[in-house]
């Protein structure tokens, strides 16, 4: 009865994990090295130290954690640690019906949630082989492009903020604020819109939205251009972004990059043109590309894409057809069994979804392909050799959204 309680070893037991009792002066890896790569990463050479960037760092865009091995100010190696925002969205989607999946997918890309909510909608429409009314398609394109501009405006501000400039982020928020207000007039929400529906959109264009849009469109192009003069021709900004985080064509394709980071390497891949969907084939717009593949090129592409989006909005407003915005669908929507892959261009790249239906009203599986996740993978290639200060410029220029990465 008096014998000591025997410890039951468990993997979560901190005393088992750290074989030698660490002092506060030692770097403690989160788990015992399970792979060769981890063992190599967490063994330090002379003069190196580990530094924990995030998950509560001011500029890691949410809860990204990057363990960096640094030698002085130079980054030798790094290990991104994901999962601090993991909610199991894919599994949650299987437990609700297809309509619930829309609002569950909403917060994945919380800066531009009009895109992530399109995912279950488009999968279900493809499985149902549904003809969406043309007016609904045009409204979707309008909302998407507005959301793309608001996301890109924030991107520019964030990039400048991570380089130490305080003002551009607030200029970016001016545009975002106006767009968010008009989308709120359209959808009733400012951040997570929950506006797209299987077979159309929730509600037609209204007067407040159109009047706000008209006021904004009259000065948007000029004002965005004016605001960017603060950093566009700034010598410090250019020197800190040009030639930084370079990735070449082959590696970009190997790493499954998409969106502006891919187009910055000279590959004009845009899902809106490569695999057209919705009414994009009817609209005129260019796909700007650069060949440098560095942070500056990515910044420049975002600016150009804002201009192209304004072009698209202009055409959409001129061609907007009359008609219904929803198709007639049964109350209990049973999606026929099958598999469908949809892809579309979000502000960060190719957003994709692979849905499997077993004939019930719930998705059997909804696999989410998030561009931020694949874009963020390349930091391991881009960062070593740069300084700590450059990690922000590189990470920001990839524009990761942790909601979609951790899912």
């Amino acid at each position: 009865m008096t014998e000591a309680r025997t410890r039951i070893p468990s993997l979560d037991d901190p005393e088992i994990i750290v074989d030698t009792p660490a002092t506060i002066y030692d770097a403690i890896p989160p788990y015992p090295p399970t792979t060769e790569r981890e063992a190599e990463f967490y063994s330090l050479k002379d003069g190196e130290m580990l530094i924990n960037l995030g998950p509560q760092h001011p500029s890691t865009h949410g809860v990204l954690r990057v363990v960096m091995k640094i030698d002085g100010e130079k980054v030798v190696d790094l290990d991104p640690v994901l999962g601090y925002l993991h909610r199991g969205v894919e599994k949650i989607c299987e437990n609700g019906d297809w309509h619930h999946a829309i609002s569950n997918c909403d917060p994945l890309e919380y800066i531009a949630s009009m895109f992530s909510e399109a995912m279950p909608v488009m999968v279900a429409e493809k499985l149902l082989d549904l003809e969406v009314p043309r007016r609904a398609e045009y409204i979707r394109v309008l909302a998407w492009e507005l959301n793309r501009i608001s996301s890109h405006a924030l991107f520019i501000g964030w990039l400048a903020l991570d380089l130490g400039a305080v003002t551009p982020i607030l200029y970016g928020f001016i545009e975002r604020d106006e767009i968010v207000e008009m989308l709120a007039a359209l959808t009733g929400q400012k951040l997570l819109f929950n506006y797209l529906r299987i077979g159309g959109v929730n509600g037609d264009l209204n007067h407040e939205f159109l009047s706000r849009l008209g006021t904004w469109m009259s000065h948007a192009a000029q004002r965005i251009e004016d605001q960017q003069t603060l950093i566009n021709e700034n010598e410090i900004f250019i020197r800190r972004t040009r030639g930084l985080g370079v990735i070449d064509r082959e590696m970009a394709l190997k790493m499954c990059l998409s969106g502006p980071p891919l187009r910055a390497t000279g590959i004009p891949y845009d899902v809106r043109r490569a695999h057209p969907y919705s009414v994009y084939p009817e609209l005129e717009f260019d796909i700007p590309t650069r060949t440098e593949g560095d942070s500056w090129a990515r910044y420049w592409l975002h600016l150009e894409e804002i201009k192209q989006s304004l072009r698209i909005i202009d055409q959409v407003l001129h061609r907007m057809p009359d008609g219904p915005v929803m198709t007639k669908l049964p109350r209990l929507l049973r999606v026929p069994p099958g598999r469908a892959w949809v892809a579309f261009e979000s502000p960060r790249g190719q957003y994709g979804a692979y849905g499997i239906s077993d004939g019930t009203d719930q998705p059997f599986r909804l696999r989410i392909h998030d561009p931020s996740y694949f874009n963020l993978q390349t930091v391991g290639l881009m960062m070593p050799g740069h300084l700590i200060a450059d990690t922000m410029a590189i990470m920001s220029s990839l524009d990761p959204i942790m909601g979609g990465i951790d899912k």
Partner: protein, 465 residues
């Protein structure tokens, strides 16, 4: 026995301050009355005056240091307010506008906030060094103010080597930053401290070299002499004699005060808050206090060295003479004339003016009650009197006008520092070093050579002719 049965413990915080003060005051009064009644009074006063007169240097030093320490408080508050309001203006925001008129008291509230916060020391920190570091940083900043000549005759110390003292003591703050960075036991703090050391040591060199030209021109290291050498119109200021030196000094001063675009020591997007990461409460307050005072000091130094110090841009004495204002008003304070008449004037005139103002306000704004208009009238009267007094002082006392010009220039430069912060991104650390060693230092050396060569040519021509 509970703690409350002790009368001391039943006192509130204010009571714990006031009660000992009252007791001490009563004691001092009784002692003074006893001394006076015993007949030692005149002798004691004579002794005191003699002692103070014999040690006038020490007395002057004590008063000057106290005043210097005290004026850092409004300076820092002003800079914090600028920081909030000017950046808000550039950002197209409103900025603070609730506490005080135009939010001017927001910075005071910030100060009270850091006073009330928990003072936290992290595990593993080197406690004595961690505690001392803010004091070292703050004192290194404040001690440089001792040699700054604010106005003719208004300085704490008129050192012959004032310029060297300024750079020597200003350089001490690196030690404080290194202490803070090392003792915090945080890798971000360490990086910030090392960045501070590297950056400040690199920029110390061009900062000092850029003023050698002025020293050559003036022939003195005394800051008062340097300012007096720039008297006349604004074309006599050193910024027009040494434009390259002024540019180098301003850039190096920006880096020395670790302000944007050279604020690498506390780059919030890279190394969280640098050396200040682990600080909280008033220690953090001291770090930022020191930073804002530093901004003012560097502006003041730029003013003294390059913008003519207390000198007005244009000589306005002829103008004043033209209107006959400059004739000094002499008030004869004859003890015999201080009778009931003067007392009556002092006692009657202010209430009468207050009443007249109150009636005028009441007629102009009928919705206000009489008490309210009375209070406003009293405030107005005080403002009027202080304004008249200041105007009289400005005309009659040389240094008030000098101080005014000095403050206008120095505070304008501080505002320019803030404007820079609102506009520019941050320079990378290697580019910062490269800029200092590859561009600023050679440029400063060229400036020295050109100035010296010009001086030799001018001197030899004067000698030859």
């Amino acid at each position: 026995m509970t703690s409350l049965s002790n009368p001391w413990n039943r006192l509130t915080l204010a009571g714990k301050v006031i009660v000992p003060l009252v007791i001490a005051l009563i004691g001092v009064t009784i002692a003074l009355a006893a001394v006076w009644l015993s007949g030692f009074g005149p002798w004691l006063i004579q002794w005191l005056l003699d002692t103070l007169g014999a040690n006038i240097g020490i007395v002057r030093f004590l008063i000057a240091t106290t005043v210097i320490l005290l004026i850092t408080v409004p300076i820092a508050f002003l800079n914090i307010f600028f920081e909030m309001k000017i950046i808000a203006f550039v950002n197209l925001r409103v900025g603070p506008n609730r506490t005080g008129p135009w939010g001017t008291l927001a910075s005071v509230v910030h100060g009270l906030k850091v006073l009330a916060k928990e003072d936290f020391t992290p595990t593993g920190a080197d406690v004595p060094v961690f505690t001392l570091a803010p004091a070292v940083i703050f004192l290194a900043a404040v001690m440089t103010l001792l040699v700054v000549p604010f106005a003719p005759g208004l300085f704490a110390f008129d050192m012959e080597i004032g310029l060297i003292y300024f750079f020597a003591v200003g350089g001490l703050s690196v030690i404080g930053l290194m202490m803070a960075g090392w003792a915090s036991f945080n890798k971000y703090s360490l990086l910030g401290g090392l960045r501070a050391a590297a950056g400040m040591i690199s920029y110390e060199l061009p900062l000092i070299l850029s003023v050698v030209g002025i020293v050559l021109l003036t022939g003195s290291l005394n800051l008062t002499t340097i300012v007096e050498d720039q008297s006349g119109s604004f074309l006599d200021w050193n910024i027009f004699r040494q434009p390259l030196g002024a540019m180098i000094f301003f850039i190096a001063a920006t880096a020395e005060g670790s302000r944007t675009p050279f604020d690498l020591t506390e780059a919030d997007s890279e190394i969280v808050a640098g050396f200040a990461t682990e600080y909280s409460g008033m220690r953090f307050g001291f770090l930022f206090f020191a930073e804002y005072v530093n901004v003012f000091i560097l502006s003041a130094m730029t003013t003294v060295l390059f913008l003519g110090g207390w000198n007005a841009p244009l000589d306005i004495d002829p103008l004043l003479n033209f209107f006959g204002i400059a004739t000094p008003v002499t008030v004869v304070l004859d003890p015999g004339s201080l009778g009931f008449g003067l007392l009556g004037v002092i006692a009657i005139v202010p209430p009468v003016i207050t009443l007249i103002l109150a009636v005028a306000i009441r007629m102009l704004i009928p919705t206000w009650g009489f008490l309210r208009s009375l209070v406003v009238a009293f405030v107005l009267l005080n403002m009027l009197v202080v304004g008249l007094l200041l105007g009289w002082l400005a005309i009659n006392l040389d240094w008030v006008l000098g101080l005014l010009w000095f403050l206008i220039k120095a505070i304008g430069l501080s505002a320019f520092f803030v404007l820079l912060r609102a506009t520019l991104p941050r320079v990378r650390v290697d580019e910062l070093m490269g800029f200092a060693w590859k561009w600023l230092t050679p440029a400063a050396l060229i400036n020295i050579f050109v100035t010296a060569a010009a001086l030799i040519v001018v001197k030899s021509m004067e000698g030859g002719l």
